[in-house]
């Protein structure tokens, strides 16, 4: 409870349920008050996070207020408790019990006897409650109503209308939580059924939640179809590796193979929801591209399978005594990132380490080392914010649970949202956000113009803001001048943790500045080494440039897609020794000299820090996996090099991180950068803007065709003015080109600056770096194709 809420006196009400007195806050529903007493009233439509519907009528109870009884049993999920209320549930009232049995019989009249072929069989509330409050035998002798089945309402979600009990959980979720009312109840009476709008496919990023909350098998996931029964599955609480939202998850494994992932419950973070990427993008673990054993490039120029001692010796030979850079990638867990950080400092004696496998700037380096670590904004701050400002951040695409939290408040109390973006995305429209249209490069000036923020406002800064010169400085200045809460929300799950443990050139673990001799001494003592490298390290781009110019002899790369950084990145690595720690074959392993296979998230334990800095620890979901976490391999490699980092297990690493206190000495100061500006364009030229859609060509989404089927298709977003000049209508193909190449996608006309054009950053047919060589701020040519 927040301090403000605590001050508000909550009126408590006492009522009697089944003869027991219970005191609950005013407004509590009878069904919830009964739960507090441990009395379970059967229900289907009731869900604590959805508004009451009273749709299924299964929770009927007898209610009497001040001696006056309701003439008929009432739905306990819709009635709030009142003083003097006497409730009799099925346990004490024969009337309520008979009513519930009657409802159950009615629900089962048209319910098919599908249990043997239904995915829900074994974990089905209808099955369970039919056992607890239903009849043993059916009295119905008529013909059951049938529908065509199953209907694919999207490539991920299948609908079986015969099984539906019309609880409206899915439609309420879509409407109230996700804001995607693509699914609704059609028709009336016995023919009432869940349906989708014919013109709009069910393209919600959150559709998997409807499968999870469906109390029967009406909505099932295409990927989990007929795969397993609940008694086959071994469930492990887990954390999501796909973004920095930090969802609690549950991973269900059958015989060493992940079969499904479900949203876990964490009221402070993801409540009970997650996004479809987190739910369904796990097949990359079992892809054919997985690397099974270490690989060493032989004299013939080909990679050959090698034993671990051989490969470690080859890797050590390439790194020992050399000038080495380390690229960590944004997917590392805290423990792994710590391993990279310590490995770079102790075994390689360098500060050339960076976790940013994306566009970045020196301004961002300064922002991260001076500002980002000290930020304390949380989800709860969004809940009580008076205004949310989004800078270089599309929550629905880049941190879906942040979107759900903002949307919740927008729906509940019309929370004003301000977004500085090239155009109003679907997420922005759902949040009814005020758009400050910006041409990529001009962000700083637009941010400086934002006013009317208070100390309760929240400024959410995305990692993309670093692509615009001066924008992070402007965001910091805005927060400083208004007292608003600032948050930095990276896209990848590992970035916040990597920053914490110093997988960046300017910081050592615990926020110790590299430039501070006291901090270095403090850490050297903790690590038991004589000294730590003093020279300031290189950023990702500088490491790659130094590799190309042979200022570095070798690069250690963990889980980086070079096309996330720049078009030249891969080419820059060709002349150096490359050690790649990867789960699957990739562009980097194709050029690497030594490849060491590492464990994917399901196969290891570890911790992610979400954007708030909240630890999201998870355990191995596949217990008998033989793959090892990065940190363990780095520790073996350090031994081989002869400079031990002593991190033999993830648990030992976590203990060591715990034992290192946060740095309480002086921190580096933020070096603001003056405003940049967008390039001037004329004629068919435009300034490029882009962001990654949630579902795109990301490598962690490999192998899941059903998920890819709901990805939003690529469009080139242009303004009305530009569309008129080009003579294109909505949906006409336009070509966006630079000297490097071009992208040809349908045009989408929307409200945006005339000089701007937006494309998705890494979607099918539109890969900004691969096709155009840049992600934003570049002058491109837009013509009708």
């Amino acid at each position: 409870m927040t301090p403000e809420q605590a001050l508000v006196e909550v009126e408590m009400i006492t009522c009697i349920i089944d003869g027991f007195e219970v005191t609950v806050p005013k407004g509590t529903l009878v069904i919830r008050a009964a739960e507090k007493l441990g009395i379970q009233i059967p229900r289907f439509c009731d869900h604590p996070l959805l508004s009451p519907a009273g749709a299924c009528r299964q929770c009927l109870v007898d209610i009497e207020i001040n001696g006056r009884a309701f003439p008929k049993p009432q739905a306990s999920c819709t009635i709030p408790v009142e003083t003097g209320m006497i409730v009799k549930t099925q346990l004490t009232s024969p009337v309520a019990e008979k009513a519930q049995k009657g409802i159950m019989e009615l629900l089962l009249i048209n319910h098919p006897l599908d249990c043997p072929v239904c995915d829900k069989g074994g974990e089905c509330p209808l099955q369970n409650q039919a056992m607890s409050s239903g009849r043993g035998e059916s009295r119905y002798e008529g013909v059951k109503r049938t529908f065509e089945k199953p209907v694919a309402i999207s490539s991920q979600v299948l609908l079986d209308r015969e099984r539906c009990v019309l609880c409206a959980r899915c439609t309420r979720f879509s409407d109230q939580i996700a804001g995607d009312p693509f699914i609704t109840l059609n028709e009336r009476g016995a023919l009432q059924q869940v349906g989708i709008y014919e013109k709009d496919p069910f393209e919600s990023y959150y559709s998997g939640n409807t499968v999870q909350i469906c109390p029967v098998g009406a909505l099932t996931g295409a990927s989990y179809r007929f795969r397993s029964r609940p008694f086959d599955l071994v469930s492990t609480p887990s954390a999501c590796e796909h973004c920095a939202s930090g969802c609690a998850m549950r991973t269900d494994v059958r015989r060493g193979k992940t079969l499904r992932r479900l949203a876990g419950e964490d009221a402070a973070v993801n409540e009970e929801w997650n996004c479809d990427k987190g739910r369904w993008a796990f097949k990359y673990i079992s892809s054919k591209e997985r690397i099974a054993s270490p690989l060493v490039r032989g004299t013939d120029g080909e990679l050959h399978e090698a034993s671990w001692p051989e490969a470690l010796a080859a890797a050590a030979a390439g790194l020992k005594g050399k000038r080495v850079g380390v690229l960590v990638g944004g997917r590392a867990t805290v423990e792994d990132a710590y391993g990279y950080s310590k490995f770079a400092r102790v075994a390689l004696s360098t500060n050339d380490i960076d976790f940013r496998a994306r566009a970045h700037s020196d301004e961002e380096t300064s922002f991260l080392s001076a500002v980002a670590l000290g930020l304390t904004t949380t989800y709860a701050d969004i809940d009580r914010a008076d205004k949310v400002v989004l800078l270089g951040f599309e929550p629905e695409d880049e941190s879906p649970i942040v979107f759900l939290r903002i949307f919740k408040q927008v729906r509940k109390r019309s929370l004003p949202v301000l977004t500085v973006a090239a155009f109003a995305s679907r997420g922005s429209k759902k949040m009814k956000a005020t758009l400050l249209p910006v041409v990529a490069g001009n962000e700083a000036a637009v941010i400086a113009g934002i006013s009317e923020l208070t100390s309760r406002s929240v400024i959410l800064v995305g990692e993309r803001l670093s692509e615009s010169v001066g924008a992070l400085s402007a965001a910091k200045a805005l927060a400083d001048s208004t007292g608003a809460k600032l948050a930095w929300i990276p896209r990848r799950a590992g970035e916040r943790g990597a920053l914490d443990v110093g997988a960046i050139s300017t910081l050592l673990p615990g926020g110790r500045p590299v430039s501070d001799p006291a901090a270095r001494v403090d850490l050297a003592a903790a690590w038991g080494v004589d000294s730590l490298p003093t020279s300031s390290g290189r950023t990702t781009a500088q490491i790659l440039a130094a590799a190309e110019s042979k200022e570095l002899d070798a690069v250690v790369i963990g889980g980086v897609d070079p096309l996330d950084i720049s078009a030249q990145a891969l080419g820059q690595l060709l002349n150096t020794f490359v050690l790649s720690l990867e789960i699957s074959h990739s562009a980097v392993t194709a050029i690497a000299d030594v490849v060491l296979p590492v464990a994917a998230v399901a196969e290891k334990s570890g911790t992610f820090l979400d954007w708030e800095g909240r630890a999201r620890a998870f355990d191995k979901a596949i217990p008998d996996s033989l793959t090892r976490s990065d940190v363990r391999i780095l520790s073996m490699l350090a031994d081989e090099i002869g400079a031990a980092i002593n991190l033999p297990t993830v648990a030992a690493t976590a203990r060591e991180i715990q034992s290192l206190d946060k740095w309480d000495g002086a921190t580096v100061a933020f070096a603001p950068v003056s405003d940049g500006s967008a390039p001037k364009v004329s004629g068919s030229e435009a300034v490029l803007a882009s962001h990654r859609l949630l579902l795109d060509l990301g490598t962690l989404q490999n192998g899941e065709a059903n998920l890819a089927g709901t990805a939003r298709s690529a469009t080139a977003n242009i303004s009305q003015g530009r569309a008129a000049t080009l003579g294109v209508a909505e949906g006409d193909l336009v070509q966006i080109s630079t000297q490097r190449g071009s992208v040809t996608v349908p045009a989408h006309i929307t409200e945006m600056d005339d000089s701007s054009v937006w494309i998705p950053r890494n979607s099918e047919g539109s890969q900004a770096i691969a096709n155009l060589g840049n992600v934003s701020g570049e002058v491109v040519t837009v013509v009708k194709a």
């Binding site: 043997p116 072929v117 089945k149 199953p150 007929f226 795969r227 029964r229």
Partner: protein, 208 residues
């Protein structure tokens, strides 16, 4: 005896000595001569009976009709598998001897009527106790037991029977799945036994 000295006796608890100790367990005294002769009469009678010994394995006798032998996965009359991969047999199995993995009947790859079929079906006869609970659990009568009892083998791995080992042979009029369902039928008509054989249109492209 040693065990007896460990078991507490009533007097150990300060109770009276049980009467049972003083009473003999049997009242057998040496039988009289005629009684003994009566006993040998039974033995003597057997000498004139037909012997029950069967010279197995040279001679094999049929089992009782409801003997619990090796399982069989049955087929519908047109050859489609009755098993829908529901795993209820695996669920019912007290010895955890059955492994089933279901899968989706795709267009062009229909193995059983309806949406679902058993892609993987294994019974581990090292574990099976032939209790028959799986047969009771089966909702489509796909799984029944044959009278075959000769299940010994020389390797443990040979005693895990796969689906192809358990499936009933194709009888007259049956087609090897996958093939489409009988025209105009659904899983209900199959279940009610209304499909009596295969239809020429079910013959799909010849298998390689």
């Amino acid at each position: 005896m040693a065990e007896n000295s460990l078991t507490p006796r009533p007097e150990d608890f300060g109770l009276a000595k049980a009467a049972s100790e003083s009473v003999p367990i049997t009242d057998q005294e040496p039988s009289g001569f005629f009684k003994q002769l009566l006993g040998f009469w039974v033995t003597f009678q057997a000498m004139f009976k037909k012997p029950n010994t069967v010279q197995y394995p040279e001679v094999k006798e049929p089992t009782a009709p409801r003997f619990h032998g090796r399982h069989q996965l049955n087929r519908h009359e047109d050859g489609l598998e009755k098993c829908i991969g529901c795993e209820l047999c695996a669920w019912a199995c007290p010895a955890d001897a059955i492994l089933v993995e279901g899968a989706n009947n795709e267009e062009g790859a229909q193995f059983s009527p309806g949406e679902r079929y058993g892609r993987v079906y294994q019974i581990n006869y090292l574990r099976c106790i032939f209790c028959g609970l799986c047969i009771e659990a089966c909702p489509t009568r796909a799984l029944t037991m044959t009278n075959e009892y000769e299940l010994a083998d020389d390797q443990r791995s040979k005693l895990i029977f796969e689906k192809e080992d358990l499936l009933a042979p194709l009888r007259q009029g049956m087609l090897m799945p996958p093939h489409p369902m009988y025209p105009g039928s659904d899983d209900g008509t199959y279940y009610r036994g209304e499909v009596k054989g295969s239809h020429p249109s079910q013959e799909t492209a010849p298998h390689a």
